[in-house]
Symmetry: none
Subunit: 254 residues, 2 copies
Amino acid sequence: MSALDLAPLFRFVLVRTSHPGNIGSAARAIRTMGFTRLDLVSPHRFPDPEATALAAGADDVMGAVGLHEGLVDALAGSTFALGLSARRRGVNLPELSPREGVAQALAAAARGEQVAWVFGNERTGLENEELARCHAMVRIPSVEDFSSLNLSQAVQVMAYELRMAMLGDELPEAPPLHEEPPADAEKMERFYEHLAQMLDDIDFHKGRTPTTIMLRLRKLFQRAQMSERELRVLHGIFADAQRMAMLAGQSGRD
Amino acid sequence: MSALDLAPLFRFVLVRTSHPGNIGSAARAIRTMGFTRLDLVSPHRFPDPEATALAAGADDVMGAVGLHEGLVDALAGSTFALGLSARRRGVNLPELSPREGVAQALAAAARGEQVAWVFGNERTGLENEELARCHAMVRIPSVEDFSSLNLSQAVQVMAYELRMAMLGDELPEAPPLHEEPPADAEKMERFYEHLAQMLDDIDFHKGRTPTTIMLRLRKLFQRAQMSERELRVLHGIFADAQRMAMLAGQSGRD
């Protein structure tokens, strides 16, 4: 079983949301990260066309939204609730970073527990009595002088962090730098010979010593780790430059 | 010096944004994470009351927004650009996870480089020729069947990841990739123009469409992150090839 299979154990709970657009945006946000359960506690307006529009096709989430009068109902069946809060208040709850919160939430889900992420009203956040229903508080580490994330942005960040943790700390393997493998040393050597010859033919050196320039160009092209296909393009360019040089030489001789 | 002091080296670039609300939301998103530089490339509507409303008081960001006609202008001065992309396409760029991208971006900033995060249009994303101006592609690991994050949500996730990394205890090890800093976007653009003109002059295309070849060459040279000195060498080579082509042309006419 993969950690991704734990997704149905997570729910996102929005409490007393003022702007229906934020509900739609939150639905889209959790859906992009593989979650589908959204619960609303006393939203100011719902359903609402703006919510539907901003959900942008997250129909499964929107169609299954749970509507509740109080937070306790919305938390039914869940055993671990994390409340998002921008401010430290006189609440006797552990304050976790998003990653710490996600680690604890995943551990709970791995034990089969249902987990809730709880987000308060846009302006006033979670009331103390709502936080009192949570088991921990999560603070997204925003800057002090402008600390308030938009509600759906906070939902996105938490859903993203959760998915990242479920995907495992390590991403599959280091992504290849290119789709095509780099050309081997022998082909690179032929490339440098052609480059040197071409520079000679187009009279690039003009009496300067070619060694330094060739070393510099080697460094550049080695760094680029070119594919065979890219080498062929450059060979073609060099050949045309040489052709021009030859024609120019004939012109000089004529 | 703390990694947080590197914040001014980062800019967020929104390309051809359709909805002004997303611009405002993006301004707020980066501001909550301690960033202030937002650049817009040909936004459909800006300034706009909706953008202002959704910026929710991120006045310093909104007041300093850079407005540009093209991506190259928006990237002026930056030497490392990361393009956000939901899809894997035939683009020969390294594809990084947000955390991998942040690690590389922070390493570049620690060397004093300016770094740009580039976000495409809401519906169409970044065009291939825009991605070709980037050095790496970042994909936020959304689910396959609903992969498109709202634009400002993607901005929030990247700004959040960047801040998390900057809050991390240590600056990443930043072994320089080169001894010399890479040339900026504007100089690279002049380089590509010269390259294109030279290919034309030496009759490299021979009736084939130059677009594909230019994209291929861009990929190669973007990957190499060339220094200004290396650029000068290549400009010199191109000039000589052009000189030969001119002489050859005179020969043809004679």
